[in-house]
């Protein structure tokens, strides 16, 4: 499917992929990938096609129902957010918009969140529906990560930075963030259960010959965690996660439950 991926931007923008294909398409696109940009632009173009329909006012009762509904429906909260200066309707609206989407100190989150949004499926590139749990987790994480965000910033400011979304057991999600240029990598867990009593999750960097190097323990638990990989990225080809005796091992003793190519 990869060779053909860019051909799907049009049908994606028109919501003309079936649910499964849509999910695959969204998951296959790394953040900032030109195909993702094209999909975003074509989605905005598709939005303009709505103006090609005849406006029809819904019956008045619909508004009455809605007004009654919103009066008792709480709005989803947004986490720590900086006041934004009045938006200059300037040249680079897209980049500006992305920068404004999150506080500067947590800009890395914007990148990670963008991946989530793209993967969200809900409202596609605007990522409105679903994902509330994840979003809450990301916000919690943003609030707690300021001291560590410099590492993430260094990763994401590298031209070769990549954010990969990987499913983890129990419906959890891991975001693997890495840059070979910066030689740094980190893992965000979202909604991942704590390891069993007396066990730890351990991260491994695995080279192309299959040799595993310990890269620190992975914290997990309610909400989200950020884990920088100790010892840098080196020439790792894969990132793995195993369950080990508490405190970790020097070599994996179980089969990795996550094994992700860093290519």
């Amino acid at each position: 499917m990869d060779d053909q991926l860019h051909l799907l931007t049009g049908v994606y923008a028109l919501n003309a992929l079936d649910g499964e294909e849509r999910g695959r398409f969204e998951k296959s696109l790394p953040f900032g990938h030109p195909t993702a940009e094209e999909a975003r632009e074509l989605s905005e173009t598709a939005a303009l096609l709505a103006a090609g329909t005849t406006p029809v006012a819904p019956p008045p009762a619909l508004k009455e129902r809605l007004m009654a509904q919103i009066a008792i429906t709480p709005q989803a909260e947004v986490g720590a957010k900086e006041e934004t200066s009045p938006a200059s309707a300037g040249a680079d609206r897209f980049a500006e918009r992305r920068r404004r989407a999150f506080p500067t100190s947590a800009r890395w989150l914007a990148a990670a969140a963008a991946v989530l949004l793209v993967a969200a499926g809900g409202a596609g590139l605007w990522g409105v529906q679903q994902q509330r749990e994840r979003d809450d987790a990301m916000r919690t994480l943003a609030a707690s990560q300021n001291s560590r965000s410099s590492v993430i910033d260094r990763i994401l400011s590298s031209p070769d930075a990549k954010v990969q979304e990987v499913p983890a057991p129990g419906g959890a999600t891991m975001l693997i963030v890495h840059s070979k240029d910066a030689g740094l990598a980190g893992v965000v867990t979202i909604g991942m259960a704590s390891p069993p009593q007396g066990k730890s999750y351990e991260l491994w960097l695995i080279d192309s010959a299959g040799a595993a190097k310990p890269a620190g323990l992975l914290k997990a638990g309610d909400g989200s965690t950020w884990n920088e990989l100790s010892g840098g990225l080196g020439n790792a080809a894969y990132l793995g996660v195993t369950v080990e005796p508490a405190g970790g091992s020097s070599q994996p003793t179980t089969k990795p439950f996550v094994l992700q190519s860093l290519a």
Binding site: G10, A16, D18, L48, A51, P58, P59, I70, Q75
Partner: protein, 192 residues
């Protein structure tokens, strides 16, 4: 309160209204609804067709707007596009869900659809932007235009579009993409 023509008032203050809605302003939500409901409902009706179901979808969309407004606040400037995309996605999902239980006759559907589309095209009362969109659509090749109309306004998957037009899947995929790129350029949607 001064009467405002929804068609003209929609564009300028939607983003400002959205910012107020994000602050929990219910009155602003009412105005936002007034400004965008005809656009949203028109689109939903076009795709879903069934009036009762369309009303449900429109209601869901606006409830979602209310619930998610704070999230949108930091991304201002495109409230209309945001809401439109949401509406289209929901409308399409509704159609597909309905389709799963009672299979639509696609060829018939495509034919009806084209007829209803032509009706609409001949309506005199076309908003300025609508005209711009129609002109942009006219700049496409016949196949591009048909495929995009069926997919967007008809809510069909590209596989169904291929069936309806009697074209190979790959052709439909690329024609749609070429057509959308053309529309993007004609309508000036680009972030460079």
């Amino acid at each position: 309160m001064p009467y405002r023509d929804a068609g003209n008032a929609a564009a300028p203050d939607v983003d400002a209204l959205m910012a107020r809605v994000a602050n929990g302003d219910q009155e602003a939500f009412g105005h936002l609804y007034d400004a965008l409901a005809p656009l949203v409902h028109g689109l939903v009706l076009r795709v879903v067709r069934d009036p009762a179901q369309s009303e449900e979808v429109t209601q869901e969309v606006f409830l979602e707007v209310w619930q998610q407004a704070k999230r949108f606040d930091s991304d201002r400037g495109r409230a209309r596009a945001w809401i439109t995309v949401m509406a289209h996605r929901r409308a399409v999902d509704r159609v597909r869900a309905a389709q799963a239980s009672a299979d639509r006759d696609l060829r018939e559907g495509a034919k009806d659809f084209r007829e209803s589309y032509d009706d609409v095209e001949h309506r005199v009362e076309v908003a300025l932007e609508s005209e711009r969109v129609h002109k942009a659509l006219e700049s496409l090749t016949e196949v591009q235009r048909q495929a995009i109309r069926l997919a967007y306004y008809g809510g069909y998957t590209y596989g169904e579009v291929a069936d309806a037009l009697g074209l190979p899947l790959g052709t439909v995929k690329t024609r749609i993409r070429d057509g959308m790129i053309r529309l993007r350029d004609v309508l000036g949607v680009s972030h460079g």
